[in-house]
Symmetry: C2
């Protein structure tokens, strides 16, 4: 069902303050930066082999990541698994009785198609399903 | 520095109760199960392509994962990055001024050599460095 871990999402207060750790100390290539208004974040992607780290900074306190930071502080926010056919994956997860936050895919970072599974169905792990855009 | 995401570590109350989600709903092959006394956990590894999910159940309440569950509930516990030379990686992280929980590698699951970086150095993300045993 899942090809690989697409990325781990990490909530940070400030992207530019977080970048030295990942880009310099960890030497991860920074490959993308984007404001994703629909998710209320500015995000960057860094490569780790074929996986990524996605750093997420909230556009304001009243956003999902803003509320996460207020409640739990900075740290791991979600895991994303990569698939080749997101509709088929969502159908399969529904058949297993899992609760989806997104019943249909929406556009995520770098033109990907994404959907979130509810942490109530996943043992407390906010879980994203990602079908990358062609070429990524 | 890092070859890939080796695994994400997920804290669970009960391994057997957590397995149906990963093994059945997510169809991840279960490849290993082990009691790691030194870390106070029983753990399983499931494959996700070349990455893994590591489910961690505490051997008792007074263990790091037991305390994590009491404080935060089940969910993502750590991320592990894979390397080919763990001593060299730890030297490089020390040179960057990072605080290590393990100054020298210790034996982790499936004969790997592992070391943890302190979350104070990593923006709240408990981070493990893993050099897998030969053949894994």
């Amino acid at each position: 069902m899942f090809v690989r871990v697409d990325h781990i999402g990490v909530a940070v207060e400030d992207l530019d303050a977080a970048l030295p750790l990942y880009r310099d100390a960890y030497a991860m290539p920074l490959v993308h930066r984007e404001v994703v208004e629909a998710q209320g974040v500015e995000a960057v992607l860094l490569d780790v082999g074929e996986n990524h780290v996605e750093l997420l900074a909230p556009l304001g306190p009243d956003t999902p990541v803003g509320r996460f930071l207020a409640a739990r502080g900075p740290g791991m926010h979600h895991v994303a698994y990569q698939v080749t056919d997101i509709e088929r994956t969502l159908d399969a997860l529904r058949e297993q009785g899992m609760r989806l936050i997104d019943e249909t895919p929406r556009i995520g970072i770098r033109g990907s198609r994404v959907a979130f599974v509810h942490p109530k169905s996943t043992g407390g792990v906010l879980t994203e399903i990602v079908q990358p855009a062609e070429g990524h």
